[in-house]
């Protein structure tokens, strides 16, 4: 598992944001979500399966995503998640929060 690049563990709470963002365009199953996050982040962000699936179930319970059974590329039963209307709203909220948080942290770091 070591191919030279530094891997960062996700901050608490940011996983939800990343999942919502990933699902914005198209429904995906769990493996594809984790692959996509890794890929887009240039293999920097590593999604731990132990937190991915509980997070997916949690978001489903909150009504932000909903699950449907579909057929994977392998022709096998797989669970596809898609963003709901309230999930879309939540994504905007989380993005906003994230922007504020990073800006605040940035200001603190600058001043120091």
């Amino acid at each position: 598992m070591s191919d030279g690049k530094p891997r960062l563990d996700l901050l608490q709470g940011t996983l939800d944001l990343l999942i919502l963002r990933t699902l914005r365009l198209t429904p995906m199953h769990g493996w594809a979500i984790s692959e996509r996050i890794q890929q887009i982040s240039g293999e920097v962000l590593q999604v731990n399966q132990g937190s991915l699936y509980p997070a997916l179930h949690r978001l489903e319970h909150r009504g932000w995503i909903k699950a449907k059974w579909g057929v994977s590329e392998l022709g096998r039963r797989a669970r596809f998640y898609e963003l709901t209307a309230s999930g879309r709203k939540q994504l905007e909220v989380e993005k906003e929060n994230w922007a504020q948080l990073t800006a605040a942290i940035g200001r603190v770091l600058e001043s120091a």
Binding site: G30, W31, G50, H57, L74
Partner: protein, 878 residues
């Protein structure tokens, strides 16, 4: 918690297997896709798969984390607890059955009581918006309620800011096809205002009561249509004779609607038919008497408080048209949303009754709690092992409570069956116990269980499940881990205080119930045996319609079955006497009852004349200002001496509602005789002791005909009824044997003591079985100790004393407390009913003896068993 969340949780809770399978599939799919990726990057098949599994991490931990997100862990736990409880109880079926039966009996009787309470007090009437309906009364200064005149009703109905509509009514008893019908004469807006349609034909309309005698029509209740006319669909348009007057049936009311009072109604007539069927004064005369009952609907947005204050301002205007009486009266409102309103009086009758029922349930719970305690002690080793393996105490308590609930819910089911049986049997017994001719006069509201009853039952079951489960659960899990693991609980695990408290509660409750039974029984018997001052065995009473009176009197005078014919305005035992105020010399105003009777009255009812003379025929015809007073009257007012020849000054008593129908016509009267006292009251003997008779005769309006008959009175009653209905159809309203009326007087007492006796005996048997169970268990627990005692020379007698002594001490304490409660019951009864008099030691002694014998009997078997233990084998006992 969102709706989505609830949906998902429910799904997971209801189809746990499917949720699990889905989760496994989802994770398996992930691993497979990872394996494919690994393969594509050049790994061998096996290596790719191994790497994928490794990368994924611990599947079971992830599954567990996902399950936690569902947050239905408690359901899983509960499911496992319930399964475990079922397995445990199936291994002890006798225990489970006894517990279910005990709880079932306790719940059953309580549910039955609640069903009755619900039918009368809680269930809103089946009409549109029952909560805005109010009975409107005049409230006199002295606190009496009275009704409205026609003009006043019109004032209430129109042009006021409080009510949107109002109807007026008068109740009546009529016979249709020889059957008693509870009838109400109503204004034409009655059905429209209540939003009640017709099941068949039409209801009454405002047109029906526009003017006196306008439409001779009638509406039947659904039950009357079924019972009196065999559900004949061709009933519409048929004429029925009501008091000899033909009325056309225009409709049948829907099944659920029985009027607004506590007795279901059979028949509705337009109020405008009053003159035809109710022979009386013209109701529509502006100066007519205030005899209409008015029920009004509050306008939307008007609260009861606001309505009251507005009405009291409006009262003088509403009163117009009636001189004097209403001048200083205010208006009172009473909600009419349910058949019976909760009043203070109703509460004083209900609370002791409900408390008695609740006591039986509490006793059943106490019994079961004792049994659970015994069982949990038998399971100490199991509980100890679980505690020492690290089970949380709360988790074990939850397990034990689940077990209680698993027992309580079938108990509720059994209780429901028992309550239905108890109600149907109860109604049957009540009807069978009444004198047959009075059965027609008792109407019982439909006692169907509804949602409120089910809710009550389930809630009571859950509460009792917790009640009998919590204490044993707390006790059983208290053991210290180390000893518990060894199964050694002997020393610190003795829940004796709890057990004693439970036994004490049981003995107190059953002795209080049995003492109350005794009090009621003694008084019922006393009333039945009481010398009423009259002999009514061969007397038949007839109430007739005024317009047929002359004809009926002629017929009866010629009837060979009638020995003597008399008349009285009050039918003794059926209703109370009206009252008047008297002022004699300097004495203050006193109150007396009065009655108008014919000279034959004293002969027919065998009321002796102590001194003076009877009314003459001429005085009777003329209604002369002469009077015969009762002995008590003579003694109280003139100290027994010289009553004859005195003059009585009389004033009407404004508080007496009975004097409206039977008004005081004289302002003074000369006393010509003194008659023996009569006691016809049920709640209040005073009403008939101070009594003044004025002269009247059978042909005078408003009198009941009383006759002493030849031969068997019941045969005579039926014959006379038949002959009169042939010769003068519709003339007779009621015909009774006076003996039945007199017997009906003790009926409420009999009812009360049956209920109380039933509860008392149930309580006693619960206490006996409880004591027996506890002692048997204790003996089994103390086998070794008792064996040691016997080996050291204890006599059988001392062993019996050892085992039974505790019970006897508890029984003594329970009896003392039960007696105190019984004293309270006696105080309450004697304040509510004057018929309950003087302290009577027999019920107390009898109840105490029964309870003591019961406790001894329950204690004797286990203690004998203990005394016969063989010391050697007992010592070897594990």
């Amino acid at each position: 918690m969102t709706w989505n969340d609830i949906r998902l949780r429910l799904r997971a809770a209801i189809f746990p297997a499917r949720a699990e399978r889905d989760l496994e599939d989802e994770l398996a799919a992930h691993i497979e896709m990872q394996a494919r990726k690994n393969r594509q990057s050049g790994m061998s098949e096996a290596e790719a798969r191994r790497r994928a599994l490794h990368q994924f991490g611990r599947t079971s931990a992830i599954q567990e984390a996902c399950r936690d997100e569902r947050r239905i862990g408690f359901v899983d736990t509960a499911r496992r607890d319930i399964q475990y409880a079922f397995r445990g109880l199936l291994r002890a079926p006798a225990f489970a059955l006894v517990v279910i039966a005990t709880i079932g009996i306790g719940l059953g009787f309580n549910t039955a009581a609640f069903t009755i309470f619900n039918a009368y007090v809680l269930r809103p009437l089946a009409v549109a918006d029952p909560y805005s309906l109010y009975q409107v009364h005049w409230l006199s200064r002295s606190g009496g309620h009275f009704g409205f005149s026609w003009t006043q009703y019109q004032n209430v109905r129109t042009g006021n800011p409080v009510f949107s509509d109002a109807f007026a009514s008068r109740g009546m008893q009529v016979r249709v096809n020889g059957k008693q019908c509870f009838t109400q004469l109503v204004t034409g807006n009655y059905f429209r205002m209540l939003g009640v349609g017709a099941a068949l034909g039409r209801t009454l309309t405002p047109d029906d009561s526009n003017a006196p005698g306008r439409e001779p029509v009638a509406v039947l209740s659904y039950a009357a249509w079924q019972n009196l006319f065999g559900a004949d669909a061709a009933i519409i348009g048929r004429k029925v004779l009501i008091r000899g007057y033909p009325l056309e049936v225009v409709g049948v009311a829907p099944a659920g609607f029985n009027g607004l009072g506590e007795s279901p109604l059979d028949l509705w007539l337009p109020l405008s038919m009053y003159a035809q069927v109710a022979d009386g004064a013209n109701l529509f005369d502006p100066a007519s008497a205030q005899t209409l009952q008015v029920i009004a609907r509050l306008k939307p947005g008007v609260t009861e408080r606001r309505a009251r204050s507005l009405l009291n301002v409006l009262a003088p205007r509403l009163a117009t048209g009636v001189p004097g009486r209403t001048a200083d009266s205010s208006i009172d409102l009473e909600s009419n949303a349910t058949a019976v309103r909760i009043s203070r009086q109703a509460l004083t009758t209900l609370i002791p009754l409900l408390a008695a029922f609740a006591a039986v349930l509490v006793m059943a719970c106490a019994n079961v709690a004792n049994m659970m305690l015994a069982r949990s002690i038998a399971r100490q080793r199991e509980i100890g092992i679980r505690l020492s393996l690290g089970a949380a105490r709360s988790r074990l308590i939850r397990q034990l409570l689940t077990e209680s609930l698993v027992l309580a819910l079938p108990g509720a089911l059994a209780g429901f069956v028992i309550s239905q049986l108890a109600l149907s049997e109860g109604v049957r017994l009540v009807m069978a116990a009444l004198p047959p001719e009075l059965v027609e006069f008792i109407r019982i509201a439909p006692l169907d269980p509804d949602l409120r009853v089910f809710t009550f039952m389930v809630a009571a079951a859950v509460v009792s499940g917790l009640l009998f489960g919590i204490a044993p659960a707390l006790q059983a899990t208290r053991g210290a881990v180390v000893q518990a693991a060894r199964g050694d609980f002997g020393h610190q695990f003795r829940p004796q205080r709890l057990r004693n408290a439970l036994m004490l509660v049981q003995i107190t409750a059953c002795s209080a119930l049995l003492i109350s039974t005794g009090i009621l029984l003694r008084n019922a018997n006393r009333i039945s045996r009481q010398d009423t001052g009259m002999q009514v065995h061969d007397v038949v009473s007839v109430e007739v319609q005024e317009k047929s009176r002359a004809r009926v009197v002629d017929l009866l005078a010629a009837e060979p079955l009638v020995k003597t014919l008399a008349a009285s305005t009050t039918l003794p035992f059926d209703s109370g006497f009206p009252s008047a105020r008297i002022a004699t010399r300097e004495r203050d105003l006193a109150t007396t009852s009065y009655d108008y009777v014919s000279p034959e009255f004293f002969d027919v009812l065998r009321v002796p004349l102590r001194s003076g003379r009877n009314f003459t025929h001429e005085e009777a015809l003329a209604g002369a200002p002469v009077a015969i007073v009762s002995e008590t009257f003579a003694r109280r007012v003139w100290s027994g001496a010289g009553a004859i020849g005195q003059t009585l000054p009389l004033l009407p008593d404004p508080r007496s509602h009975l004097s409206q129908a039977r008004p005081l016509r004289l302002r003074q009267a000369r006393v010509i005789g003194v008659a023996g006292d009569v006691k016809t009251g049920f709640l209040d003997d005073q009403n008939s002791r101070m009594l003044v008779y004025f002269p009247s005769q059978p042909r005078a309006a408003g009198t009941v005909l009383l006759m002493r008959v030849n031969g068997d009175p019941e045969t005579a009653r039926v014959r006379i009824d038949q002959e009169l209905s042939e010769a003068a159809p519709g003339a007779v309203d009621r015909i009774h044997r006076m003996e039945s009326l007199a017997a009906g007087r003790a009926f409420p007492f009999r009812m009360a003591y049956w209920v109380s006796a039933l509860l008392g005996l149930l309580a006693l048997s619960l206490a006996i079985s409880g004591i027996y169970g506890v002692l048997s268990f204790l003996v089994a627990q103390r086998v070794r100790e008792i064996g040691v005692r016997i080996a050291l020379g204890a006599t059988p007698f001392s062993v019996v004393g050892l085992v039974a002594g505790q019970t006897i001490r508890l029984a003594g304490a329970g009896l003392v407390m039960g007696t105190l409660v019984g004293m309270g019951v006696w105080k309450l009864l004697s304040s509510a009913m004057l018929a309950v008099t003087g302290f009577d030691v027999i019920p107390f002694a009898g109840g105490a003896a029964m309870v003591m014998c019961g406790c001894m009997a329950a204690a004797i078997v286990p203690s004998m068993r203990a005394s016969r233990l063989d010391a050697m084998s007992a010592l070897r006992h594990d």
